[in-house]
């Protein structure tokens, strides 16, 4: 269409309506900045929570007299279980070595004896199912009954209290950050579109005059939308620049010291910048177009 005309008109109205334009630009800037900081934080937190949940294990202790054949059999049965992700075998000797490294004094007292059983460390597919898995594998039930578990299994443990605590805590963290992120996004959209609406509203008389002179809706709309796009792009550019400064000045030097900052699941900076930029532009353009619609019905 008349692209040149649209661009000239958009630039003119940016220049002549400096204050409302600046307000819209500032709101885009601030919300994108907050989102840009918050999104990685949410992701790092969820990532950390998932990490912790991944560490929930079930220890399957075998009978003291378990033969290597028993070990292989039990192991095969565990691997075949649909709820099990992986199984790691820790032999008596390996267990003793690890424990005595952690607690050398206590194990010195034991002399040469090894009280530790062969152990199979089971990582469940879904940490929420840990307790069910424990019940299934344990040879004796709480009510004294016997399950069909392998006779070579002496007992099954998962530190029940800890597991439950970890599961609840991580769930709370995940839901809270998710909710906060949602609220923040909704608030950002409302703030930006509201500011854009205000600046359009301030010019409703102008729109009315344009209609009287015989301008078609498109003729009035496209410069406005383009103006929204320009504002969004400028605000987003500033926000991205500031985020870049924050990243280079603050985050990068600290990454090696804090695991949370280096969490692998967080969004890449390039990706983050792209998403923010697009969101800023789309929201302000849509805001302009939608708020203009009311005044076009003259």
């Amino acid at each position: 269409m008349r692209l040149g005309f649209c661009i000239r008109e958009a630039l003119r109205s940016l220049r002549r309506n400096a204050v409302p334009s600046f307000a819209a630009l500032a709101s885009v800037l601030v919300t994108l900045l907050v989102l840009g900081v918050f999104i990685p934080i949410v992701q790092a937190t969820t990532g950390a929570a998932n990490d912790v949940r991944g560490k929930v294990l079930v220890n399957v202790y075998l009978q003291d007299d378990a033969t290597p054949a028993d070990v292989t059999r039990v192991r095969a049965a565990l691997v075949a279980d649909p709820q099990v992700r992986s199984v790691e075998f820790v032999s008596k000797e390996a267990a003793l070595r690890r424990e005595s490294e952690q607690n050398p004094d206590a194990y010195k007292l034991l002399g040469g004896t090894n009280p530790l059983p062969d152990t199979l460390r089971v990582t469940p597919k879904n940490p929420d199912n840990v307790l069910a898995l424990v019940t299934k594998l344990a040879p004796t039930q709480g009510d004294g009954g016997v399950t069909g578990a392998d006779p070579a299994i002496e007992s099954v443990r998962s530190s029940k209290d800890d597991t439950e605590k970890i599961l609840t805590a991580t769930k709370v963290v995940k839901y809270t950050t998710g909710l906060l992120a949602l609220l923040l996004i909704v608030a950002s959209i409302l703030l930006i579109s509201n500011t854009v609406r205000l600046s359009v509203f301030a010019r409703r008389r102008e729109v009315q005059v344009m209609k009287l002179v015989g301008a078609t809706d498109g003729f009035i709309r496209w410069p406005f939308v383009l103006e929204g796009i320009l504002l969004g792009a400028m605000g987003a550019t500033l926000a991205v620049l500031l985020l870049g400064v924050i990243k280079v000045a603050l985050i990068d030097p600290l990454v090696s010291d804090f695991a949370l900052l280096a969490a692998p699941q967080t969004i890449g900076f390039g990706m983050l910048v792209g998403v923010l930029f697009l969101a800023g532009v789309v929201v302000s353009a849509c805001g302009s177009a939608l708020s203009l619609r009311r005044f076009l019905n003259v």
Partner: protein
């Protein structure tokens, strides 16, 4: 442009044609010789404030008509109906023989390009210069930049604003702003010009200048409908007067006065002999309206 002056003079002599009584021509299907025709048009507002009540009249092409009446008598309603800002509750409005009720929403902008509109509050775009305000009316029609650049200074010179090209509306006096509005209304050479209280905000001296301008536009063949309170002006000009009262037409006189009992004080003609800028018209003024109905 030299030829246009000559043409103008020719037109001026031709416009002295005898005027027909419009009421005798009113009830025929879409007479294109009628610039405006209202047939039993009614429009009421929710708030019981008077709108229009069964108004019927016709205005021939090239006429200059005053619409008079007290506040709330329906003058502005009539204007808003004609620019299709409002829809009538009943009855039909014909412009150049076509029922404007048949215009679809998408066609309205094209219809409005054939109208010049002038308002009491000027309705200029505040963040554009005089030049750009007038140019906007051409830009909406998709006219090229070069053509606009040549046309706008011309029309502004004719309305006496050649030196104010790059002023913003708030840097101008009321009379000057109204001249800009008239320049904008006339720059497309519309066949019909509507003015709603064009002198309502102006002092009597300035008003005369504005009326002169409208009259000269009329003499180029444009039909002009002026709603006004200005009794002095109406009495001086002695054109056709349609009086409204509470939405009804109570008087329709050729060469009428503002009020039936008023005595004319002076002839307006003397004022018209003063050198006033002459607006121009396109060579063939007729029937740009039909384009508005093209799909």
């Amino acid at each position: 442009m030299a030829a246009t002056e000559h043409e103008l003079r020719l037109r001026d002599t031709r416009s002295a044609q005898p005027q027909l009584d419009p009421r005798m021509l009113a009830v025929r299907p879409g007479d294109p010789a009628n610039a405006i025709e209202l047939r039993n048009v009614s429009r009421t507002y929710d708030t019981s404030k008077a709108g229009l009540n069964e108004a019927s009249f016709a205005v021939r092409r090239g006429e200059f008509v005053f619409l008079v009446g007290q506040t709330g008598s329906g003058k502005s309603t009539l204007m808003r109906l004609l620019i299709k800002e409002l829809e009538p509750d009943s009855g039909s409005i014909l412009v150049a023989g076509r029922d404007i009720g048949e215009l679809r929403r998408k066609q309205i902008p094209f219809y409005r390009r054939n109208l010049g509109v002038v308002f009491q509050d000027f309705k200029l775009l505040p963040n554009r210069t005089v030049h750009d305000n007038v140019a906007y009316a051409l830009q909406v029609t998709g006219m090229g930049r070069r053509e606009i650049r040549s046309k706008v200074p011309d029309i502004l010179r004719l309305t006496g604003l050649a030196t104010k090209l790059h002023h913003y509306p708030d840097q101008l006096s009321g009379g000057e702003q109204q001249r800009v509005a008239i320049a904008r209304a006339f720059v497309n050479h519309p066949p019909l010009l509507l003015a709603d209280e064009p002198t309502g905000n102006l002092d009597p001296e300035t008003s005369i200048g504005i009326m002169q301008l409208l009259y000269r536009i009329n003499r180029t063949g444009t039909t002009v409908l002026v709603a006004t309170h200005d009794a002095d002006m109406v009495d001086r000009m002695r054109r056709r007067v349609i009086e409204l009262e509470r939405g009804r037409i109570i008087r329709d006189e050729l060469a009428g006065r503002y009020a039936p009992s008023d005595v004319s004080t002076a002839e307006f003609g003397a004022l018209l002999s003063e050198p006033a800028p002459a607006p121009q018209r396109a060579p063939d003024p007729a029937d740009d309206f039909d384009q508005a109905f093209v799909d």
